[in-house]
Symmetry: C2
Subunit: 228 residues, 2 copies
């Protein structure tokens, strides 16, 4: 590998990690807004999504530029392909954080109402943030073992989301005034579960990047009882 | 461009179009299952998702192979980058079709119940299928004007989804027995809206592929009243 290529790959990695910091921050803030009924913070997450979108385009342009200039092969090519995919997942994570922030505004904008936040929703958010943190560490350090562990944790997140889904649905049946807040909570839970799916994609891209092994699409979801 | 590269790019395009046929078929079938209360058809959509997943991996491997062998630049490089992204969107469209099929099973597996299907949900499905058809035509023919038109239609789909969302929520408030079916219909509507987002991505990739112009992330959604 030429020094020139090595420098450009490091730069690409740094840019992607910067973009990942913004995405991670967006989920942290959206979750804090939810926990603390902080509408101003929720609005800042929504406003900040434009910056995450711009970063996505910059990283993609940079990756294509490195491909065009250096025409890398083997490991370097896989690294760039993985960066392109991770970049895409980070952008969607940013979108989902903004979506959670919009639900926070739905929940708390009417100050005459006082929706009760399910405790496991915040627990789910913590798990998802922790999972993203570990997937990004696995990418930064090229740690394939850590990436494999991240993949395993997605099941636990699915289970909690499913429990929240069924409980919220029961609440809606029991009390019409709970339909709106329960719908918003459900939407938050569903966004967290989708973020975890993107995090799993990132972990799979790290495994591919390092070993060339494609581990996507393991075992398909059951036909029923799956609330995704 | 060498004949060898030209042949490989054509092959890649053909493979991607084959994968797209499967994804399109999956949505058509999931929608038909919904309209005709056809649980067997819904199950075949769920079972067929594994094939769509395999195709995604094949197309990606092929694209990386072409990159490594020919080290293309400029238009050819953009074409391959666009194929990689469109491939990813097709795989997610397949996942969402399977998700719709799971909701069909939720809706119709209890034959003592007879949920009323909102007419505009089928209308929404038709619009989304038509949009995907046109985006794929734009890709196959390299028709940038058609791709631009596809991007414009996404707003209409968002509007219909929003109408369905608010109507379903009202139904849930009025009648507890409607909570379960209305939740399933809402999930279908939401999946259709997400498919339309992926279709918009495909149209944007076609525009980029042909002109090198990045048109993503136009105007951000409003803070509230957005049900995505």
């Amino acid at each position: 590998m030429t020094l020139h290529l090595e420098r450009d790959l490091l730069l690409l990695k740094r840019r992607l990690l910067e973009a990942s910091t913004l995405a991670e921050q967006a989920i942290r803030r959206a979750t804090a807004a939810l926990a603390n009924r902080d509408n101003a913070l929720a609005r800042s997450v929504i406003a900040g999504d434009a910056e995450i979108d711009s970063r996505e385009i910059e990283v993609e342009e940079e990756a294509i530029r490195v491909l065009a200039i250096h025409q890398p092969v083997a490991t370097d090519l896989r690294f760039i392909a993985a960066c392109l995919k991770i970049n895409n997942d980070l952008e969607r994570i940013g979108d989902l954080a903004a979506k959670i922030a919009r639900r926070v505004l739905d929940l708390y904008s009417d100050t005459t109402k006082d929706p009760v936040l399910p405790q496991d929703l915040l627990e789910l958010a913590d798990l998802v943030i922790n999972l993203l943190r570990r997937a990004l560490d696995a990418f930064a350090r090229g740690d394939v073992e850590l990436a494999r562990k991240v993949r395993m944790d997605d099941d636990r997140i699915d289970r909690i989301h499913r429990e929240i889904f069924f409980r919220m649905r029961e609440q809606m049946k029991q009390c019409p005034t709970l339909v709106e807040p329960a719908n918003s909570m459900l939407s938050v839970s569903s966004s967290l579960e989708r973020i975890a799916d993107h995090v799993t994609n990132i972990a799979e891209d790290v495994i591919y990047m390092i070993g060339g092994e494609i581990v996507r699409h393991p075992g398909h979801a059951n036909e029923r009882g799956h609330v995704d």
